[in-house]
Symmetry: C2
Subunit: 397 residues, 2 copies
């Protein structure tokens, strides 16, 4: 508790954009988020008051950081699970706890547990040897998807391979792997929920997540033309997973919609890109909800405040316009799209890097989507083109 305000102190390990946006939500609740940053230049470290620079891989640093925190939570999944368990053994309140978080840290653990629960997953297997992979491919055929069991994100740590030869370099790297069937999908959805230690659950409308090269580029809320039955199924599934796995805080369930129904792709136990639209688009943002959940406050209403909300990620273009060019682009963006909301994360614009997002609200999907897309394209490329890779290359000579 902060003795000046009487309000709790949440410590977030990691100081990227998720911590940055969580701090914004904390301020409204009378709080000030404490962040454990890798560097004083991290996105959240630039804007939070209570910044500790330290190493999330060091139990000593984590222990020092936790002193005075009412609850500890995470901006990413990379804190060693054993350290989290050790903090809990010390008596630190950690949400999500080690026992839950392992299912977001290790894909083999996740698949094993979800399979036990009867949750629909792709056919999968752990890979210990070449023989394991050959055996898996013999049953379902090539191509298959290899995934690093730990540490992957945004398409990193995922390889679609069409033969054993293609798989060789990945196998040879020594990374612990799982293999999954390559699912034929209609589209990707996400069901985002929050669960408190008390056991209360809250769920946002199911969204469509549009991916390019394994990275989410756009989120449409609600998922267009999704039938009620499937939407409710997705929400019920996400709430059930949160409960069965003992998740506390926000849980994002990434789903494949297929001709045969829903399949769980990935889990994330923290605020997630698929719910950034909730900042303007829902009565309670995922960042506020995450804080409420980890503090065991009652959860907030999740009503969507406009019929259509579209979020477009800002992915760094081929040239880095920061620092000198971005302010001018912001000027023009504001002039052209006065209704579009900009979120910049305080990062350098490296190619493909998530450096911010924009959100548009309205009634007509096509209009709202176009405005979000064009504003995002303009901020990243300085024009309103379609921004596909070839056009971009051509434009930049």
């Amino acid at each position: 508790m902060d003795e000046r305000t009487g309000l709790p102190v949440v410590g977030m390990v990691g100081a990227g954009q998720l911590a940055r946006m969580t701090h914004q939500a904390a301020v409204a609740l009378g709080q000030s988020l404490r962040v454990l940053a890798d560097s004083a230049d991290d996105g959240a470290a630039l804007v939070a008051h209570d910044v500790v620079v330290g190493d999330y891989r060091s139990l000593e640093d984590l222990r020092a950081f936790a002193v005075g925190c009412d609850a500890l939570t995470f901006d990413h999944e990379h804190v060693p699970n054993a350290h989290i368990a050790a903090l809990e053994a010390d008596g630190v309140t950690v949400h999500p706890g080690a026992a839950a978080l392992v299912f977001a840290q290790d894909k083999a653990e996740m698949r094993r547990r979800l399979s036990t629960l009867g949750v629909p997953c792709p056919r999968w297997a752990p890979i210990e040897s070449r023989a394991d992979l050959e055996g898996f491919a013999e049953q379902g055929g090539w191509p298959v998807v290899l995934k690093a069991a730990r540490g992957g994100y945004d398409g990193k740590g995922v390889w679609v391979v069409s033969s054993l030869a293609e798989a060789e370099p990945v196998l040879a790297s020594g990374t612990p792997l799982i293999v999954e069937e390559k699912v034929t999908i209609v589209r990707e959805l996400a069901a985002d929920v929050a669960r408190s230690p008390f056991g209360q659950g809250a769920v946002w409308p199911v969204v469509e997540t549009v991916q390019r090269d394994g990275i989410c580029v756009e989120v449409l809320a609600p998922a267009p033309d999704l039938d009620d039955e499937t939407a409710e199924q997705a929400q019920a599934l996400a709430l059930r997973i949160a409960q069965e796995l003992g998740v506390t805080g926000v849980l994002a369930v990434e789903l494949f919609q297929t001709a045969d129904g829903l399949i769980v792709n990935e889990l994330a136990m923290r605020p997630h890109n698929s719910a950034h639209w909730t900042i303007e688009g829902s009565l309670t943002s995922q960042f506020e909800q995450h804080l409420r959940a980890v503090l065991d406050y009652p959860l907030g209403a999740t009503d969507q405040v406009a019929p259509v909300v579209v979020m477009a990620n800002l992915l760094g273009g081929p040239d880095d316009v920061t620092p000198k060019g971005i302010d001018e682009r912001v000027h023009h963006c504001f002039a052209h799209w006065p209704d579009v909301k900009i979120h910049l994360y305080g990062k350098q614009f490296r190619p493909g890097r998530k450096v911010g997002h924009v959100t548009a609200l309205g009634r007509d999907l096509e209009t709202v989507r176009r405005r979000a897309h064009e504003a995002a394209q303009y901020l990243m490329f300085g024009d309103m083109g379609l921004g596909d890779a070839s056009a971009t290359a051509a434009r930049h000579g």
Copy 2:
């Protein structure tokens, strides 16, 4: 400019709740608000990264604070006008500038200027002597309203007096005063606008501000049952005042609605309590808009996102529950009103002090207003009573 991000640095003199909420808006724009705080415990100083503790009455402190700021702006009107003029002479970009801000700092200057512009004001006069007051009252009769020309806020510095005898203590205090007729009003309204140095103006829907003991307790957006003609008149008036006075940033025009039309009550040239509802209730909050204006960015769309938005101030109850009791109240408030948004300013709860606000959105005025009111009452008094002074006194023995 922040060399790491390529984005501008705004410095705000004062670190109260307005700076606190402006920092939240700055974060989305990739910025980090620099605040000049009286004390390290000020509301904004608890949450901002870039905090300077200093004296806003010291030109030396102001000059040091301004170094590296792309624009300087204000959380309050108390910075000596001559200091602001000196900063401008130094080449510092200040919004609003000294020439405009004087009309929010000095009520005699404001009334003189607005009268020249033909803007409807109460009948008024500067008071140099008892004879001035007697002469004024002879023309219009008692009671009259005495106002401190400088430094008043939230009902402080305003005295309704029914005779020369009643006015004596105020006159004797030596405070520079103006006198105004006591206007018979239907209700109070506010027309909030923003204006950029380029000259762009933007206006929010006109709101009703409900006052008790001279303090705003509730804001209803839009003002219920306000006819379109009067609403447009109020908006046009506020935009005209902003332009004529050269205001840059947010301008709040407090209005009396009377049987004979609109009359200007007060001006504020900063984010204002009457527009706190815009955080959730408008596409662009007044805090983001103020930043856009002082940086000469194009202004944001001001559409209201729900048919009815009600803001209720949190005014400290007769006992201070901070620090030990407020967290429990927040728990219960969240449980009972999951749709109501809480904003706490990080202050001690002194009786009558503005320590936060709540906002509710919806379709039905009566429902939305009741929910906001009850949530505010609960947070301040620990129950859902009507909270009028006598009931409160009875409840607290």
